[in-house]
Amino acid sequence: MIASRLGRSLVRIGAMAAKETLHVRRDPRTLALALAMPVAMLFLFGYGVSTDVDHAPLAVSDLDASDASRALVRAIAGSGEFDVVARRAPGELEPLFRQGSAVAALVVRHGFGDELRRGRQAEVQLVVDGADALVANQVLAKLDAIVRAESRRLAGPGPDRAGPPIEVRLWTRYNPDGKSAYYMVPGISAFLLAITAVMLTALAIAGEWERGSMEQLFASPVGRLEIVLGKLLPYLVLGLLELELVLAVGAVAFDVPVLGSGLLVFALGFLFLLGMLGQGLLISVLARNQLVATQAGALSAMLPAIILSGMIVPVENMPPPLRLLSRLIPSRYLVHGLRGLLLKGNGLAVLWPDLLAEALFALVVIGLATARFERRIA
């Protein structure tokens, strides 16, 4: 009895899903939106919006003018990462930043060489144009690496030191080359999946309202949950294909590794998509109109995925209220989880909170959408 009811229910869900697949297949624009756009955007972000910095214009204030300080500057200029464009007194650096003719300045204080010779911790000051947080990060990371290596060489095997000759705390782990693609591919995956999943479902369901066929469906024995599941299924498959595509392009074109388990990547993507599809569903249930659904879908998917996911601005750097808000955004967990999976090879032991958070979000939005759906009629 229960088995046959479940069987009938599955037939109806299957019918909904098959119909939806036909809609997608007969609408090349949807397919293009789902598959070509992500790849195009990945290249755009990967190359065009590359945040890699080479030959960054650097200003130098060498107040020490010792052998050691000159060697340091030579090392920086010779690295290929920086071009020394100006030598100024520290007080004259400001205009360079204002004009944008330098993105960073190295200030070597008087006594730098002496300190190193005496085995004390020497100090150099890095001044960075913070207007572009991404560039600033890269510049700092690179300068730090060069300065550290060079100062160690300059100091030589002197007396025992308490710490490194120059202390600069910067985050360069897991992306030692500072390649932006490593950092961006997981973020872009979240962004693209979020947009397409939310928009496609929002459109598909709002279309059913607009066409008037929703009422026809409600008048049939197809249940609300069956409509919802049947509608989501094809887009879930499409979304997973899209994720695979983005990762494949990331691996081939940008050498982004996939160190973790493919199954976990799949699970992470699956739960995330479920949440995004649920969000699209909720929007369309509330909006009932394709235009409104598109706008609301794009905004609600795009903004959090860009701003709050950690794709561009690290979650750690957000002001506390935003950091708190980001906990409600599934893209945050996908970005965090994917970075761990792709770049660090994290396993389930580290990943489970991300999976759990995604699953919770999906459960809540699909539950809300189905409940709202129910209340629309009756």
Binding site: R8, V11, R12, A15, K19, E215, A219, P221, I377
Partner: protein, 312 residues
């Protein structure tokens, strides 16, 4: 056998009563017409009968199932064709049939066979692969009917099935409906076209949420238009007709198309006398003849008298 039975069925939306204590029965195999102006409560009644909307008060059974307690059973037992026949226009004809069939639990070979049978019956055989959106309105409407019939429902609800369809297509659609009823299917149909309502065995008339008349077309005419009906054609009729209003023996004067409809007492003035009176009242050359009342006359009389708050 009773296919549909309602008892004091009511539906309120906030302070507004859309359907007000409606009671009627529809026999199995009957074509039952449901008439009324926009907003009279026709669609709300249908939505309650097909299990889409819960009644506020009263009850209704459809195909033996209570619509409030067992809406899912009701849905499985009936066919429904909504106002804008909501097909998927981007899909081929046959896919619409296969989808709605599966939605009603048909599968595999049985579904394909049934779809083929219905395509044949509604005159769409050979057009299986045509894109639904490319079909003319009349064919789309037939396809929508086929979609509602796939699971062999004992009762079909057609909500304004002929809206926006040309007269030839309307006529052939009604031939299909009569065929359906002849086969034992109950047809519950709403329409704006009063000429179509003549095809119904019985007609219910809704005004402001209340069922104010329920009878066969002939019965309705006898009850609501007991007077003789005269039709006047000619020029200058509007002003002249207005002057005749309230004259002895003349019950009502209403513009009807380009002419006038006059309801006069059985023993009232003859057609020739009315013609003379109209000319005297300033009309040009007029021609007046006796006519049989149409459902439109009934409709106007019902709305008139309901507005005045009186029974026939």
């Amino acid at each position: 056998m009773t296919a549909i039975a309602t008892r004091a069925l009511s539906r309120r939306f906030g302070a507004f009563t859309a359907v007000d204590r409606v009671t009627f029965e529809v026999e199995q195999g009957e074509i039952f017409g449901f008439l009324g102006a926009n907003g009279a409560g026709k669609s709300t009644t249908i939505r309650m009968l097909i299990g889409l909307l819960a009644p506020s008060e009263g009850s209704a059974t459809v195909a033996g199932h209570d619509v409030a307690r067992d809406p899912d059973r009701v849905k499985g037992a009936i066919g429904y064709m909504s106002q804008r026949f909501s097909l998927y226009l981007d899909l081929p004809v046959v896919e619409n049939l296969l989808f709605f069939g599966a939605a009603y639990g048909l599968e595999g070979r049985a579904l394909r066979a049934r779809a083929g049978e219905l395509l044949e019956r509604v005159g769409l055989a050979g057009q299986e692969e045509a894109t639904t959106g490319a079909l003319p309105g009349g064919l789309r409407q037939r396809l929508a009917l086929a979609c509602a019939l796939l699971h062999r429902p004992g009762i079909v609800f057609l909500d304004e099935p002929t809206a926006g369809v040309d007269p030839v297509a309307r006529r052939s659609f009604w031939a299909l409906i009569r065929e359906l009823a002849a086969g034992g299917t109950t047809v519950f149909v709403t329409t704006h076209y009063l000429d179509e309502a003549e095809h119904c065995r019985r007609i219910g008339l809704m005004v402001d949420g209340r069922l104010v008349a329920l009878d066969t077309p002939a019965g309705l005419k006898a009850t609501w238009v007991p007077e003789r009906l005269l039709v006047a054609r000619g020029r200058g009729l509007a002003a002249a007709g207005a002057r005749l209003r309230g004259a002895p023996g003349i019950r009502a004067v209403a513009p009807f198309g380009a002419g006038l409809h006059l309801r006069v007492d059985r023993a009232g003035p003859s057609a020739a006398a009315i013609g003379g009176a109209l000319r005297q009242a300033g009309a040009g050359e007029v021609e007046v003849e006796e006519a049989a009342p149409s459902l439109e006359d009934v409709f106007l009389a019902v709305v008139d008298r309901s507005a005045a708050g009186a029974a026939p």
